[in-house]
Symmetry: C2
Subunit: 226 residues, 2 copies
């Protein structure tokens, strides 16, 4: 308790964001006590803008008054500040691979999702983005050789990948897609079950029904646009 009296950890976030939830999960894994400061999506507070003037985005972690932005930068900061239950491996080569695959998820998976949203908005074929998603899932399927990407314990790729494991099935349900399933990607599908049922992760996931309602509203506004 002594250390908690000296430390003040705040996480500025919004509930439906997979980028915020990965920080929640990392702090939970480390056993760090923190205060979640809920921001209003689309109308961020002056405090948030002050802490992240460059991107004006959540999540922002504020540790003893000092802000850190960008979810993967925050994950590394957490791992270097609180050493217990490492998020990254200790071997430099394994660390490089973990960073590579974690970046891959944000780059290629998020990229394909953006393309999917834009094809819905433009009422164009979503074939290209679906193929991109399949390529992403196939690379990850091939890469997964243990229970988690981190081995027997969860690591940065697993935490980043919760976006795929928990958010994407909700998006699929809303949009009627069937890209990610047990038949096509059996290892990745099993992993998605294991990671979302992992105690440290489960405790920090948003309510599925709330997320469904959120994405239903977004989906309807996307297909109704123009």
């Amino acid at each position: 308790m002594a250390s908690n009296q000296e430390e003040e950890v705040k996480l500025f976030g919004v509930v439906p964001s997979p980028f915020v939830t990965r920080v929640d999960i990392a702090l939970n894994l480390k056993g760090v006590q923190y205060k979640f400061v809920e921001e209003n999506l689309g109308n961020f507070s002056d405090t948030l803008i002050k802490y992240n003037p460059v991107h004006k985005k959540v999540p922002v972690l504020v540790h003893n008054g000092k802000p850190v932005s960008e979810s993967r930068v925050i994950l590394e900061y957490i791992d270097e500040t609180w050493k217990q239950n490492p998020i990254l491996p200790s071997d430099p080569y394994k660390r490089a691979l973990a960073r590579f695959w974690s970046n891959f998820i944000d780059d290629k998976f998020s990229g394909a999702l953006r393309k999917l949203a834009s094809s819905l908005r433009a009422k164009e074929s979503n074939q290209e983005s679906i193929e991109e998603l399949e390529v992403v899932f196939q690379f990850l399927e091939n890469e997964l050789n243990e229970k988690f990407f981190g081995g027997e314990e969860i690591g940065i790729v697993d935490i980043t990948g919760v976006y795929i494991a928990f958010w994407f099935p909700v998006m699929q349900e809303v949009s009627g897609l069937n890209v990610f399933n047990n038949e096509k990607f059996p290892k990745l599908y099993k992993w998605s079950q294991d990671i979302t049922n992992h105690q440290v992760v489960k405790e920090k996931l948003p309510n599925r029904e709330t997320l469904l309602a959120y994405f239903r509203a977004r989906y309807e506004s996307l297909v109704a646009s123009k």
Copy 2:
């Protein structure tokens, strides 16, 4: 010499790439001996594709047969593998800031350049991308409080920023733009001189005339397209 007999370090790259040059600079800073394997831009070798099947891009660093891709992942790998002359600070908060600004350059500066290229191709106004570039330079101008972003010694932000310091002036010269100069961004401009004249950097920069010729050809093909 004993360690060099055990170690084999190869860098797969192309000469005009700022992403490849940052790896050259980092290896030079560390005093690591390596072999530069020149790839053919637009027609990468099977070896390169085998080493980087995900992105099919240079740079790829191959250390004792094990490939690492993506320039910023490679820089961190180099820093963790060869400890002398650190590229990242040791304090976790300063490390987070260094990662943040290094990502910022690749995200916002590269993003604005892509937009600039696409407006040239479409023969549309480049006003928006120029404003984005100015915002990028202003943030960096405000952030620069010592000789280098890394302090008195160069660090990851400086190495990443060579893209701005050396490549952008060449691009400006080719396209007739005047966005980055001593009047508007005096600290950043001085930094651009200091970093390109730093011995470790200077030794690894491509020939300016070659780069000019390369970008002149690219510029002409962009404005001639359609």
